[in-house]
Amino acid sequence: MFVFEFMRNAFLASTFIAITCGLVGVFVVARNLSFLSHTLSEIGFAGAAFGVFVGLSPLNGMLLFTGASSLIVGTLSVEKSHREASISAVSSLFIGLGILFLSLSNKNASYATNILFGSIVGISVAEVNQLILLSGIALIALLAVYRILVFDSFDGVGAASQNIHRNLLSMFFLILLALSVSIGAQIVGSLLVFILLTLPAASAQYMGRSVPSMLAFSLGFALIGVWLGLYLGYVTNWPVTFFIASIEVVIYLLSLIYNRWQTN
């Protein structure tokens, strides 16, 4: 399958996507941000549509919108009890905007499906290079705050008593999340990128008992999903995203069963 350039590009891109989303996802799940990451991917859809409308690349449009909205969410820092409702409101607005920008930019419907559901054809070498660069930035950012992020994500109360700048850290992580959403959406699409950000990590929580082991499991599960998904998509001509989603769900269920079996 690697005789085709688009497959080589897709393979390289999805490898880096899996690395980024798999690792960042561990903190998304620990910080209970699954819902927010879902919303950010919808915002990413609007961003991509906006990008197309004004002549940016979809990826740059996504980076712009998700980055800006994570800053807004971070500064608002609404009370927990109201957060879900306000996030829903924000996401409704952005899906609406996405549809508007798409129709204004006169692109055909298949373009919209590509953004929403992902596509492996037509990723250029330049785009792959940008993805690798962005993944590198995300991973370095993760490494730079690793220990305080681990403490704050897995024991917020304990971290609060250690003079950590928690608000700053929280903001930093939201931007990192926005970056990961935009990266991940390039292959699996903005509708389902949250799969890669939450399911491998949620499965990893059942398997590992330390943060490094969770990171390893999550990374492994994400890689299995995209590699196998790409291969099956290539063989069957069915959408890659369908396979990735199904594989991650199966892994999740198996981890859940393993966990039940182990605790009994």
Binding site: L143, A144, Y146, R147, I148, V150, F151, F154, D155, G156, V157, G158, A159, A160, S161, Q162, N163, I164, Q205, Y206, G208, R209, S210, V211, P212, M214, T263
Partner: protein, 232 residues
């Protein structure tokens, strides 16, 4: 100032916009002792502790720390008042205890950090339980894990903010016996915040009674009198 104090608090005032919580407090805590901090809800116990931990700035006055020989600053271990660890919590006790190692940035522990981690587990009798998930540990084991996390940086001063509040009588006494052992074997100074006079009298030597911004101190034997006085 005392010769062998670990903390000297001088003319400490902490004022919030709407009220003065600590009003010109003077206090010395002797190295190697166990002291209870007592006072009604809202008296300002946590506020005093947060000021000691540099999380709050004093409105007036100062807190002088005296680190022991060979130490640059006074390392304080703190077990906060409320923790939210539910049954699905995934980390093992060992991983949880290690969260507090923030002095280095590496994703992996250095050998001496690993040794510190094992030592904290040993001192809290958690060595055998280190690999079970904290979420599935009992209430008493959880408290010991919180304690171990506070000990992992080898503090000279340990502050327990109502650490026994949610435990049954047996677990309370086990935890306090453990803390007492640490106090005696390692010269660990302990501030124990509690509403439980019985525990205070059984395990600590002196009390600090916080009431309307002022603090009174004395041997725990005088505690019952103090209480009656305040409620007369």
């Amino acid at each position: 100032m005392h010769k062998d104090s670990i903390l000297d608090i001088e003319h400490l005032t902490v004022r919030f916009p709407d009220k003065t919580v600590l009003d010109d407090i003077n206090l010395s805590i002797q190295r190697g002792t166990m002291v209870s901090l007592i006072g009604e809800n809202g008296a300002g116990k946590t506020t005093l502790i947060r000021t000691i931990l540099h999380q709050l700035k004093p409105t007036k006055g100062k807190i002088i720390a005296h680190p022991g020989a060979g130490r640059r600053h006074l390392e304080i271990g703190y077990v906060p008042q409320f923790r939210n660890i539910d049954t699905g919590y995934p980390l093992s006790i060992k991983s949880f205890v290690g969260l507090n190692r923030l002095k280095h940035r590496w994703p992996f522990y250095l050998p001496q950090e690993h040794a510190a981690l094992i030592s904290a587990l040993k001192r809290t009798n958690l060595l055998k339980l280190q690999n079970i998930r904290l979420g599935s540990a009992s209430g008493g084991e959880k408290q010991r894990a919180y304690l171990a996390q506070a000990l992992v940086n080898d503090p000279e001063l340990l502050i327990l903010d109502e650490a026994t509040a949610s435990l049954d009588v047996k677990a309370k006494n086990e935890l306090m016996t453990l803390v007492q052992q640490l106090n005696q074997s390692d010269q660990l100074t302990v501030i124990f915040i509690t509403h439980d006079f019985e525990l205070a009298q059984k395990y600590t030597q002196r009390f600090m009674f916080l009431n309307e911004g002022k603090i009174e101190t004395g041997p725990v034997a005088d505690l019952s009198e103090k209480f009656l006085e305040a409620h007369a």
